[in-house]
Symmetry: C2
Subunit: 685 residues, 2 copies
């Protein structure tokens, strides 16, 4: 395929849209779009398969802009190819409530696959998208029915490559031999601090070879379209390795300041724009110009995409006849619905059942629902035996050549790579056919904070199986014992934190996590055994908080979560015996879900007139919203046997009782004690 | 140097101490100590320079066990070489309040340099220790006075290598040409999930070559002591590159289960221990045995270390004569004291001074104190121009060959590597001659959560210059706007979060951060301009919270931080004008410091009898501890111009007033409104 004047015009159109939008908003990053417009043109017009009229078509190629600050590149492409993104949307770049925010957000803009901007995330999402593609292909493709064979393309810059999360994800992608993943590294020698010489002098190509990637180089990334064409062809031809194309570009190509960090994060000056438009043969008096021949060129490719989807729809229809079960399964997955009746597989417990650690209860849930919910795809960051995330008959997701599994496998060995696991889960979920879960110690979910935040922001259904959830993990000590972690995750909007107290609550946590299509969940699970509680049911627990134990003439309400609920049960007995105190007990496995209940219900759980005390072995931050007094641990823990550590900090029936008595005493002179649930006004939520 | 029977005996003594301690505690990791005992013996006895009687001697070689779960290796060595760690301490391994917790903690155990266990941190700390050494040498060494020439040695495992933080730190270490850093990779093909084949098949040696490291290999890491000796010699000889020694070992060497993950994280069985002791020529009936000849061998090396320190003390004494200024400076630094009168350099403001962004105020502080405090060493994760962390005359810490600076430079170009920056700061501070600060956007401190937590736990003085601290950053949008971040960092024990409202508060924040020897600080700083407030002073602000504006017959207290304080000032005027409401204003730049004030003082700031409303443009979590009602943002932000975003969420005088009126209304029927500071009992803090 030859390239001509029209290609150059298309490239310059992209560049100038980015220049005009950043100038109009007086904010944003023109440099990367200007440098990457040529490769974007070659990729989108000559390789990428998509239908702008249906951005959700399953077999589309995925495009991820990992250097998300360059999003005007992507917005320009989406507009030019005919996605539902108008010129007015481009003009509204970076303004409140526009479809063109400062970084790409998947839920805001049609055609954006994943939310990027925080560096290193996008390329790690891309690894997830590629895993999901390989898995979906292995699961659903049949002879003569290649339902999915799409590629995942990802652009990334120096910043992405410096971030550890991309190193983790790239190492895993090499191990997994993801031939369907093609990355383009915008090698422009510039970062915000100036020349990459000041901090980033490693040999990127060699590093990616070490990871097992195919590494290609395009020396003239500003101009040599044919070389880019060839590189993408070679990339697609390599079936057993991900590819990274090292593309040497000039940041802000065409600007008077090209090749400097001056064009990275600030709009071009008026004069500079004028000379640029003249140089590119555009009218310097006009802005946001799309030449007709560019519209036509891209319109043609868009039509081809639409036709390809048409073909695919026919294929899928005839697949329905030959493979009705698989067709129904895939169709259902794409709607995000769960299989009918799946929840019947959730285990139910009575107090007669033995005490079990909630990590073990989680394993039981997974083992029971794994057949009922085929889209569930799990893993662990090298703590499988501790997180108990793997079911017995699991097949690992591995390249066949390893002899350890195959791509139809549903269990991912993430290695010790928590941050990549989080970002990969975001990619897995974004593909549309998979519900991901991943295990690590609760304390090390913090390693993945950057990715967890993006799960919440981009409304991803994924589940963290976060075991060893407190000082109750014992001997590993303070380096492993979470204190601040739940406060952190509870403060994160659109994120559910569950800390179940027993088997029924564990089932409830999974029920809500699985059925919340647009919200991630963190399940905080104990290492130590927990008894099955009198009064717990799945139905009650799915409300997020409920009365576990009611008493007449209550003097105090003990409110607790997870492994401390059973200690509160003992404390209530102790209080009755030793102090003739009547204590109600509320179990509150999930703040966020409780918050969504009616005020009437919430006040029935935490009523006026009774002082309340929260009991949780970690930071008390956040508990003031629900209780009058708080018993927690606002310091680091200790290394020792579980019981010794709990005794040290007085998380015992006696220790709780002491504080309950103090609570009653402190509030006894206050008439009409008001539940903390009563507020002067509604929060902005 | 030849190796003989005594060396083997010493090695087996180490192994058996680890085996006995894990067996006794019925918990812990014998595998790594057994596999790494040979290389530890060669390193500690033949290379490492240290004086067990003075673990703080400046010019000691630093040892970091990055695979901290193998800490019985380190505890055994510390005991055997004569540190203040007894056999009884080893027997108390992993028990509450022992000096031998489940992972090495620097403040608990003499001879432990940095707190490790969370994987990838130790090796990144080691990079910090090596930078500090190079910098201290460049600053204080003189012809004939080589005061510091120590090496930093680090052991690490597969887990450390998989973690992104180590990739970031290793890439930077290569760039910085740290010839004083020598790592030993315990290449045993085993992780918790089993064989490394399941997730970690990259070419580690090639990757480290790509980073610019010297890579050496020892094939027979269980037995070939001479090869280890040679490798360390080669490592020390290479002055311009860090070295990694790829050491092939057998995990749990000697055990019946050697070479499997069965010996990774569980004590050996009784029978296994018996055969092991017999095989090693030890009495199987005895435990915790230290043969006399091993004591003598190691005692001899310890004496040599003591003599070396003696020599060094003489050198330092004569240095005092020739370079009295430098001697005084270094001596002072080693005590952790700041230069007398340094605080006079802190800028003071009056309301007549212009409005300035607090990131810019931070730059002014740094520029003013940088000469007064020569141990201050700053940097940024590639956001220098945004964080404003670099002072005008700064010299970059760079290898001379780059032409960009030299090792005497005090400004570090971290690249886009927030997590490594955090871990490196921990290493810099641990060296003893440097106070580190580092800049990034507040939102991306979360990327470094793993390291930030260890700063707090290990009582490190370091400062995060965390700019762009809210939705006030504007156009970059929700991906960059922190919501949960302050709640997270405030919930972390022993961590100060400052959010100054103006110039005086910014000076106060630096004052407390710099003078808190054992507590890290995060300074949350605005992108947007803030006026200099009437009523703010450094003296008031260093209390963490104070009355900015008092009124008679107050109807409500507005409590706020940072960029919202000045809006509260306007809201108070608005409330008076439109509603005849008297509003007091409290500025609360730091919860943690406010919490340490007397109750009397705190109640004077947040008194009984007046309902209070907090105003902060992020998660309200935690504010219930101080105020009756909360105005915040429990959702993600928006991309747009700063003022538009504030308007959207009603963080305006009108929006605040509306909620203040609601607060007054809601509390008016409650007699004797009680300050939330009154509690039924003291928290465990
Ligand atoms: Ca770049
Ligand atoms: Ca290993």
């Amino acid at each position: 395929m030859g390239f001509g004047e029209i290609d150059q015009k298309a490239i310059n159109t992209i560049r100038l849209l980015a220049v005009d939008a950043t100038f109009t908003s007086n904010s944003g990053h023109p440099g990367a779009p200007m440098g990457m417009a040529p490769v974007a043109h070659v990729l989108w017009n000559n390789f990428m398969k998509f239908n702008p009229k249906n951005p959700k078509w399953l077999n589309r190629d995925r495009f991820v802009l990992s250097n998300g600050h360059g999003c005007m590149l992507q917005y320009a492409l989406l507009h030019l190819f005919g996605y539902d993104l108008s010129l007015d949307d481009l003009k509204a770049f970076r303004s409140v409530d526009s479809k063109t925010p400062g970084h790409p957000e998947a839920h805001d803009t049609p055609g954006i696959e994943v939310t990027t901007g925080p560096l290193g995330q996008g390329v790690s999402n891309a690894v997830g998208l590629a895993i999901a593609q390989a898995h979906t292909a292995a699961t659903f493709n049949k002879p003569d029915f290649t339902l999915v064979d799409n590629y995942t393309y990802c652009f990334l810059g120096d910043g992405c490559l410096m971030e550890g999360v991309s190193s983790e994800a790239s190492s895993l992608a090499g191990h997994l031999q993801l031939g369907n993943l093609i990355c383009v590294y915008d090698d422009n020698n510039i970062t915000i601090d100036g020349d990459t010489n000041c901090a980033f002098t490693e040999d990127v190509s060699k590093r990616y070879e070490a990871y097992g990637w195919q590494v290609l180089t395009v020396e003239k990334g500003d101009t040599d379209l044919a070389a880019m064409q060839k590189a993408f062809e070679e990339a697609k031809a390599e079936k057993n390795k991900p590819t990274i194309i090292n593309l040497k570009t000039t940041i802000g190509y065409g600007s008077l300041q090209q090749g400097t960090h001056g064009v990275h994060g600030s709009p071009l000056k008026k004069d500079d724009i004028k000379q640029l438009k003249e140089k590119f043969g555009f009218n310097p008096e006009e802005s946001f110009v799309v030449p007709k021949e560019v519209s036509e060129l891209y319109g043609k490719h868009a039509s081809e995409g639409a036709a390809a989807e048409e073909e695919w729809n026919k294929l899928f229809a005839s697949y329905a006849e030959k493979f009705p079960k698989e067709h129904a399964d895939l169709s259902r997955r794409l709607k995000g619905d769960l299989p009918e009746g799946w929840e019947k597989a959730l285990p139910v417990y009575t107090p007669a059942d033995p005490a079990v650690a909630s990590r073990k209860l989680s394993e039981t849930v997974l083992s029971k629902i794994i057949d009922a919910v085929p889209e569930l795809m799990g893993g662990s960051a090298d703590l499988t035996g501790s997180n108990l995330t793997r079911w017995k008959q699991a097949v690992d997701f591995q390249p066949k050549s390893t002899g350890l599994g195959d791509y139809s496998g549903r269990y991912i060995r993430y290695g010790v790579r928590e941050h990549a696991m989080g970002a990969i889960m975001n990619g897995l979920a974004a593909y549309g056919t998979v519900i991901p879960y991943g295990g690590t110690f609760l304390n090390f979910v913090s390693y993945a904070a950057g990715a967890v935040r993006l799960s919440s922001l981009s409304q991803i259904r994924c589940i963290w199986v976060a075991t060893h959830d407190s000082i109750g993990l014992g001997e590993d000590g303070p380096t492993h014992q979470p204190i601040e972690t739940l406060a952190h995750l509870r403060a994160l909007p659109n994120n559910m934190v569950w800390r179940p107290a027993d088997g029924n609550e564990t089932s409830a946590a999974y029920y809500v996590a699985m059925t919340s299509k647009h919200t991630p969940s963190v399940l905080a699970l104990s290492r130590q055994n927990l008894p099955q509680l009198e009064g717990s049911t799945i139905e009650k627990a799915i409300k997020g908080g409920y009365v576990l134990h009611e008493v007449e003439k209550a003097d105090v309400t003990l409110v607790s979560t997870g492994s401390e609920v059973c200690i509160c049960v003992d404390a209530a007995k102790y209080l009755k015996e030793k102090h003739n105190v009547n204590a109600r007990i509320v179990s509150m496995p999930c703040f966020e879900v409780f918050d969504t209940q009616s005020k009437e219900y919430r006040l029935s759980v935490l009523p006026d007139g009774i002082p309340s005390l929260s009991v949780e072995v970690m930071s008390t931050m956040g508990w003031e919203r629900y209780t009058h007094e708080q018993f927690g641990l606002n310091r680091f823990g200790a290394s020792g046997a579980y019981k010794d550590v709990y005794n040290k900090f007085e998380f015992t029936p006696e220790g709780i009782s002491k504080r309950a008595v103090a609570t009653i005493d402190f509030w006894k002179d206050v008439p009409n004690v008001r539940s903390p649930l009563n507020r002067a006004f509604q929060q902005i939520i």
